[in-house]
Amino acid sequence: MPVNPALAVTIPVGVPFYRITAVSFHTPSLVHHKKVVNGMGARKSHSGARYNYGGVLTVYLADSVATCFAEKMFYFQREIVRRLDALHLPFSPGVPAFSGTFTLWEIRLKKSIPNICHLTPANASIVGVFPSLMVNPSQDYEHLKERRAFLESSGYQGIRAPSSRSTAGGEIIVLFDDQSKNVDLDPYTVELRLMTRPPVAPFSNHLIEVLDFTAGEARFACSGPPGVTGYAHWSRVAFNH
């Protein structure tokens, strides 16, 4: 199946997109920053990800800071809950920290990327994507990995799709090629923390407190990207669970 013009959009030059990584990517020298978008995290992953099989180069971006925080908060919370689940083992990595520091990257393309398959619940069936699996936040599906392989083999250079964890209609951008030579990017230090159910407070004691499984909080440690409002102080980050 060739690229369908009705589904194809272009990711434009200069528009900011976002991604959150470990702080270990945040070096003083700008030359190393581009590794954030080289897709090697997915390439070296045994397991694959939402829109890629293991070992397949892929770059994931979010369309806004809010979407980026929602996506990251889902994984941040899930890892902590799994670590709590492992505490009963004779060996466990210990009680996890319920807050963390990360680097949020504002990423702008130098050259536009055409032939991005823009999937929505209304049009996904045109390329055989089941809309329900595309928007379900609870897990990843083999179906989406297979459809990505199909779309890439059809000539698309990426996917723009709903963020299954965003509660505000945010989208993720899934690029099939290394973008390290095609971006300008700036780092911002951000902090995330888990919260309790109402009365809302920072989650601090897994023995007696009940976690809010639908939201956490985030803030910029210093300033945020120009034009981005919010998150100067701890701010609620709701996400689909």
């Binding site: 702080v23 190393h32 083992l89 897990q139 990843d140």
Partner: protein
């Protein structure tokens, strides 16, 4: 703003020496660890660290792979070096309960540090998969210990 030194992401041989030095100073991984891990002669390794000898390309690649895994361990413990040291040095006891859990570490019944020393480069993918079991995919769908069925965002 929180950042790390340039050598954290540099892939040159000089950066590799800095990475080894950082692991020695911050995580307590001495020459004896690296000599065992690389199956290298102690004098050759010490000479390489001081810049007066060569280390094979394959061994350099093994060190780079271990550095990437160490960064993942650091991230896993929120860059708390004391917690990472503990994770490296604490012995994981053999226990029937561990056999059934996807979160049981592949280094049972030794420590991660000892496992890396004895197994060498072959241990790195196991450690990476253990970390991934907490972060990605659905480890509960695993059919058995040590090889969780994974998916999700790297």
């Amino acid at each position: 703003m929180r950042s790390v030194p340039d050598f954290f992401q540099d892939e040159s041989e000089d950066a590799l020496r800095s990475q080894v030095e950082w692991l020695q100073q911050h995580l307590g991984l001495g020459d004896s660890f690296f000599v065992g891990f690389l199956r290298e002669d102690a004098r050759v390794f010490a000479a390489w660290r001081s810049g007066s000898a060569l280390l094979g390309v394959d061994q350099q690649e093994i060190l780079r792979a271990w550095w990437r895994a160490a960064l993942h361990l650091l991230s896993f413990q929120n860059f708390d070096e004391i917690k990472v040291r503990s994770l490296l040095e604490r012995v994981a006891p053999a226990h029937p309960q561990s056999e059934r859990s996807p979160f049981s570490p592949p280094w049972v019944p030794s420590s991660l540090k000892e496992h890396l020393q004895t197994q060498g480069a072959e241990a790195i993918p196991e450690v990476e998969r253990w970390l991934e079991s907490f972060r990605f995919g659905d480890p509960y769908a695993s059919s058995g210990k040590g090889s969780p069925c994974l998916s999700t965002q790297p």
